[in-house]
């Protein structure tokens, strides 16, 4: 190679690099060459849009003026709060540099972070879809070839709904299964209860023929479902997910009872007749896995089945299992099953694990006060108030029934927490006395499965699967039988103490409630398959 050729190559290389950089810059600037526009129903809006590599960023402040709302900055945290006129109860918090925003109580992850421009925050299109789209009925479409963000008003969704009515054991259950979750609210009417659909339309199914002592009719209209109740009946509702279902449990009430809120504060339990056992985890959710391969979900099911048999035969109580097979069951459904079965005691059975090398022993949890804070109480009270026909008040509006629900829920939770703590102490005592386990004590935690249980409820951890010695012991039937017997004794002591305390205050009327508890199906615990 000659010196001249080498010199030529040397000069060429920087030129090639510069050309590559230039081509890259040109490619990035291609979109910027065309000025993006925003239109609302075809009319141009003066809303700046900048083109970022991950998609367009829209100036929020001028858009808020056009679509109605307010945008305010919090100086301390550096975040901005957007309040839509159409949904003021769900403020939206965003911050420059963050791809996470909150919409009311929901947390939303965006395709790219919010940017801070000269005129305030700039947001990606999916932010607009999750806010003005979901809450105010607007539709957003980014058209890259036109460099145009087209905004329109969305037509109402057509949501399929199926109606199922079942009457079992003096309770009628009405299940409304929706094709997708609608925006709705519950309204009490003189005839019963209605589900009012807010921005969607229901596809009307074939009308079921209702022959039921508590439900006179279920009528589906495009904007509402009407459930007409028999005189004296009352409805309690809850939600199940995947698929989304609204479930109404309808009970007969004393017809002579004066009209008032459907929710009644709990009295001290007069007996322990129904015990709900919850084998932790199941299905794809394995729970802890021991170093030897033992799965928590399998052992908890074995323990719960054995405990159910012993409780039914030894204490003569009705026992309900939240699952009887290796199936995934949402946590909310577990307490819903307990509430639906009018459980007097809820025991969630688990095995523990830790990344700490030496952790071992048993511990018993009840719900922490943090999980019963005003926000949780407010949510629960809203559900109870809705069941009673009242709606959560909007800001600045007083609603005596809603306030009453808050107070009653708080009272109920305080009562159940005290009983849960007492029962947890008995469980821990029996485990300590019977087994050579390290006493890890009674503890509190905001465990999801205990939230919403309308009865004393505990979660018991019967040992550490992550500890090889305890994993080995848990694999032995005789050791599991010892654990079961300790739990039977704890439940028996609790049952006895409740019934002894209740007797002086409530002289025994005729019937099973005050006498020795009778099993609904002696020796046969009832399984509750997932809905």
């Amino acid at each position: 190679m000659t010196a001249r050729r080498l010199f030529g190559l040397a000069c060429l290389l920087p030129l090639v690099f510069a050309a590559a950089q230039g081509a890259r810059s040109a490619a990035q600037g291609e979109g910027a060459a065309r000025t993006p526009v925003v239109t609302l129903e075809g009319q141009a809006l003066a809303v700046p849009v900048s083109l970022a590599p991950a998609g367009p960023l829209v100036a929020l402040a001028p858009l808020v003026n056009a679509l109605e709302g307010t945008l305010a900055r919090d100086a301390e945290s550096g975040s901005w709060t957007l309040t839509l006129r159409q949904a003021p109860e769900r403020p939206i918090v965003l911050a420059p540099g963050s791809s996470v925003v909150t919409v009311g109580d929901d947390i939303v992850s965006l395709s790219q972070p919010v940017n801070l421009g000269d005129g305030g925050p700039q947001v990606p299109v999916d932010f607009l879809e999750r806010t003005y789209g979901a809450l105010a009925g607007y539709a957003f479409e980014w058209r890259p070839t036109e460099a145009r963000l087209a905004i329109g008003r969305r037509t109402a969704r057509q949501v399929p709904v199926a109606v199922d009515v079942v009457h079992l054991q003096e309770t009628t259950t009405v299940v409304l299964q929706f094709g997708e979750m609608p925006r709705y609210r519950l309204v009490e009417t003189p005839a019963g209860v209605e589900v009012e659909v807010l921005s969607d339309r229901l596809a009307i199914p074939a009308t079921p023929v209702i022959q039921d002592p508590l439900v006179q009719s279920v009528t589906v209209e495009p904007q509402r479902v009407r459930i007409a109740l028999a005189p004296g009946a009352r409805a309690e509702s809850y939600v199940l997910e995947n698929p989304f279902r609204l479930v109404f449990d309808i009970h007969a009430t004393d017809l002579a009872q004066p009209a008032g809120p459907a929710f009644t504060p709990p009295s001290r339990p007069s007996g322990v007749r129904t015990i709900v056992l919850d084998p932790g985890h199941g299905g794809a959710e394995t729970g802890a896995i021991g170093p030897g391969g033992a799965a928590e979900k399998d052992l908890t099911l074995q323990l719960a089945r054995a405990l159910a048999d012993r409780l039914a035969s030894h204490l003569g109580v009705r026992v309900v299992l939240t699952r009887t097979a290796d199936a995934l069951l949402p946590l909310a459904s577990r307490t819903a099953i307990a509430n639906q079965n009018k459980g007097d005691l809820f025991v969630s059975i688990h095995l523990n694990s830790s990344r700490g090398a030496g952790a071992h022993g048993a511990e018993t949890y009840f719900l922490s006060a943090q999980a019963t804070d005003p926000r949780a109480a407010s949510a629960a009270a809203a559900e109870n108030a809705a069941a009673a026909g009242a709606l959560p008040p909007t800001e600045g509006e007083a609603d005596p029934l809603y306030d009453l629900q808050l107070i009653l829920w708080d009272l109920a939770q305080s009562h159940h927490l005290a009983e849960s703590q007492r029962f947890a102490g008995l469980v821990q005592q029996e485990l300590n006395q019977a087994l050579a386990l390290r006493d890890r004590g009674v503890k509190q935690a905001p465990f999801r499965v205990l939230v919403g249980a309308a009865m004393p409820a505990v979660l018991v951890e019967l040992g550490f699967l992550s500890n090889p010695d305890e994993e080995k012991k848990l694999g032995e039937a005789t050791y599991r039988a010892e654990l079961v017997e300790a739990l039977v004794r704890a439940i028996g002591r609790y049952k006895e103490s409740v019934e002894q305390t209740a007797q002086p205050a409530a002289p025994a009327p005729a019937g099973p409630a005050a006498g020795p508890a009778q099993p609904a199906q002696p020796g046969k615990p009832q399984g509750q398959p997932p809905r």
């Binding site: 010196a3 080498l6 010199f7 040397a10 000069c11 290389l13 920087p14 690099f17 919090d74 945290s77 550096g78 975040s79 709060t81 918090v93 965003l94 911050a95 420059p96 540099g97 963050s98 791809s99 996470v100 925003v101 909150t102 109580d105 947390i107 992850s109 972070p113 959710e285 729970g287 802890a288 928590e296 949402p330 946590l331 909310a332 688990h350 095995l351 694990s353 830790s354 990344r355 700490g356 090398a357 030496g358 952790a359 949890y365 943090q370 999980a371 926000r375 890890r440 509190q444 935690a445 905001p446 465990f447 999801r448 499965v449 939230v451 979660l459 951890e461 550490f464 699967l465 992550s466």
Partner: protein, 189 residues
Amino acid sequence: MNRRAAGLVLAIALLVVAGGLLWWWARGRDGELAGAEGPPPGGTGKRMTLEATLYFPGPQGGLVGERRRLETTDVPAHQVWSVVRAALVGPQNDALARSFPEDVKVGAVLIGPEGTAYVDLRAPERPDPPPGGSTAEMHMVYGLVNSVTESVPSVRAVALLWNGSQRLTFTGHLDTSRPLAADRSLVAR
């Protein structure tokens, strides 16, 4: 020009190209900082050293604090990001354990006006958090919640996301659907 001079020019040119390529490559690799998926939030804050306490599982099952000095800025979101990133990288004390596997990184951080920090944990290869018992879950969640609330004074509660999504629970026990305040009862005595 002689052969030697041409060789020198070629070497300089190659160095310029290599340096440029290295700079170009490194600019796109910010996201692979240990414990972090992307650059810190908060833009241009004033640089500072944060005295932080990071909590990790101890040998007997309680959380144990480890004092650290973290380089960050005066922007609270950046401070939270720095604390979470350092906690995810793991303890310096060999007697303590990591709360999360190595591939879990800190993503976006948002601080609401009420002092709640929303922290997105990213692990693209893991649709769900690693399974475990309640103690392992509490170590994961409260290891971060306690570290952040104790180290960043303006943060009162922490809400954790997994791969951008809010979860009712991480591994089937704790209610992670809402912000959590620190739980000092989990700290080993």
